[in-house]
Symmetry: C4
Subunit: 217 residues, 4 copies
């Protein structure tokens, strides 16, 4: 199975999903309410847009990293990739639901938190299963040492654990807290803090050293 | 005709169509009806979304497989590909129609089933014609033995037969049955059950053996 | 300027535009009017969708053919390509306008015909200017003989002439006539009738002979 | 990090964003107001569509130019690219807001100008930071002389300065003035006036001479 076309199709889906996020930003029609007031009241939409944008960016980053390791695509990887895309494609829906209901309070805000958290958890599980399968089935360019493999899997298992925790905290406290907690997850995945594995210019080679063009997983 | 650009354009169309499916999931505006109740009542939308997502995934899989066999793109293949895309692009419309009318019952539910079934049948016929043309006109990397060719064509002819049968059963019984029947078709195309032809690392070579990176047709 | 990225970006725009066409097909919400009746009354939407789909397909075909000839992309070609994309991107708008107003009759149907014809004319002029510039500025792999060059330019000049003629006939007779007349244009560009220039397996080589993988311009 | 996939993903986002611009052109449903009158009254939508289309075209041009210089993608460049895409994706929103409110006058027109100007300024700053980082961190194919580097950075710093100035002038005079002022910026970036740096057929080589396939930055 051609790695190029799987990447190309996945990039297309990620690009459309990340762009559709902004479709839910809506200026509305001119009314008695001043535009500036409307925009201020829409702040959950803007905040959720920025969060989901960087979350999809971080997923793209992970996807790119995992496929860079990979030199063989078997049927299971193909299906896990499809499962990952299934959840990614619903992120604009989850974002719009959060934006519309997060400030409503009560049961509706909790439901919206569960929708957003559920979509992210589905994504995180698919991503972890992809990483696990790539490493365990040896679909990789060059061998990965056990400690490196553990570090990498820890990184994606962390996502599986943190989204339900963040969601539970937000349900118990208040819906806007979710934005802050998930933003910290984005920082973890995109930020400079953790860079356990570096990819050199040799595609697919895994080293623990830090090179200039080292992408984070 | 460059195979790369035809694949690239087709990947783009498939990626946009699969992502637009989720646009019909709609949180709606806050109202007296609790969000959780709204979501439960929208279950046909979610079920139809998941079904159509994996159906498009299976079509992408077939498309990829057929183009991997192909080394020459003539005008007829180009037109058949365009015909296939014509039906793929209407899958979000068919999905939304099914989701909105399947539970209405009566004539409207039957019409919705015919719309969904008609789009899938148009897709299946175009795909069969593409496979048939590629094999008959010899637009392939290396010769395919008659039994392999028959197996491959059977696989796509099956799609042409099964969608009308599923649609008829659903019309005679109840609209939600369609989801189950079509889901079995997805399992047939994406599942591990049937893997008559395996593509080795040598692009386009057809073998009957099973190799690790063997894509299903 | 990298030809690959210009093709990639253009393919993306064409793929999104062709897929957005179907967004205007709308099942509507359940109402007193049976779904079957709604769909029958929406026939201009479906007819316009199919026409615009194949028109964009034919434009993609032309675009692919012209870029296959080209080995150099200068700034003017880049700008003409952007101009072509500007009109392509408005085809879904023109299609929706036609579908909504073609059967209204009177001034509104005429306006809708002018919108659709105007967008197609803008596309045809941009495409002709692109072909003209590529041939005149010599941005090509190998020399094109004067008769071949004339044949090719005739093909795109024909588009510049035929869209206003079709639009005028439809305005003077009735709006649905446009669908038939433009469908004939699609047959001209995608059909087997005219194949004056064939591209062999050697990329960019122009021959008058007919080879198996000969794309029409 | 693979340059190809970053370009591919960015092209996808740019292609979707430029195509979604036209979704805000809306024929509306047939009503008492003649279609021709509706279209005339919608002129800010059409003007804003054309402006934003060429602005995104110019951004694609810059993006292509900067990545053509680059041979290494580090984490910071990846994040700056994501930041640039964040603003690009909101251009359809800013365009729709301008189109709906620019002719309203008063506070709403000023707010709409601030939204459009703010999105463009965010884009311009991200682009400048990208160019600055690529040159300063030496992520380039071949060394760039200090004068060439200064010229290039001036070009992108100009964008950072001109968008707030244009926005301020439009707020102090009238909203439609913005279209003219921003159109001049488009001419600056896409036009033939300034071509300080030419890229030869040798990818990434920087020369001050003008070659045929010289892209503007």
């Amino acid at each position: 199975m051609g790695k190029g076309r799987v990447e190309n199709f996945s990039d297309g889906v990620l690009a459309v999903a990340i762009t559709l996020l902004a479709v839910d930003l809506d200026a509305g029609v001119p009314s008695n309410v001043p535009l500036a007031t409307q925009i201020r009241e829409q702040w959950p939409s803007f905040a959720a847009y920025v969060l989901s944008f960087f979350l999809i960016g971080a997923i793209w980053f992970s996807h790119h990293f995992l496929f860079q390791l990979t030199n063989t695509i078997d049927q299971r990887l193909m299906l896990l990739n499809l499962l990952l895309l299934l959840f990614i494609v619903t992120i604009p829906y989850a974002t719009a639901t959060y934006a519309d209901y997060a400030l409503e309070g009560g049961a509706d805000a909790r439901t919206a938190l569960l929708v957003y958290g559920g979509v992210m958890e589905g994504m995180a599980i698919s991503r972890f299963l992809m990483a696990h399968h790539i490493l365990r089935a040896g679909l990789i360019h060059s061998p990965v040492s056990p400690p490196e493999s553990r570090k990498l899997l820890f990184r994606y298992r962390f996502g599986v654990l943190i989204f339900p925790i963040n969601t539970a905290i937000a349900i118990l406290t208040s819906a806007p807290i979710m934005l802050v907690l998930h933003a910290l997850v984005v920082v973890y995945y995109l930020g400079p803090g953790l860079r356990p594995i570096a990819v050199g210019s040799n595609p697919g080679s895994l080293t623990t050293g830090s090179t200039r063009n080292a992408p984070d997983p």
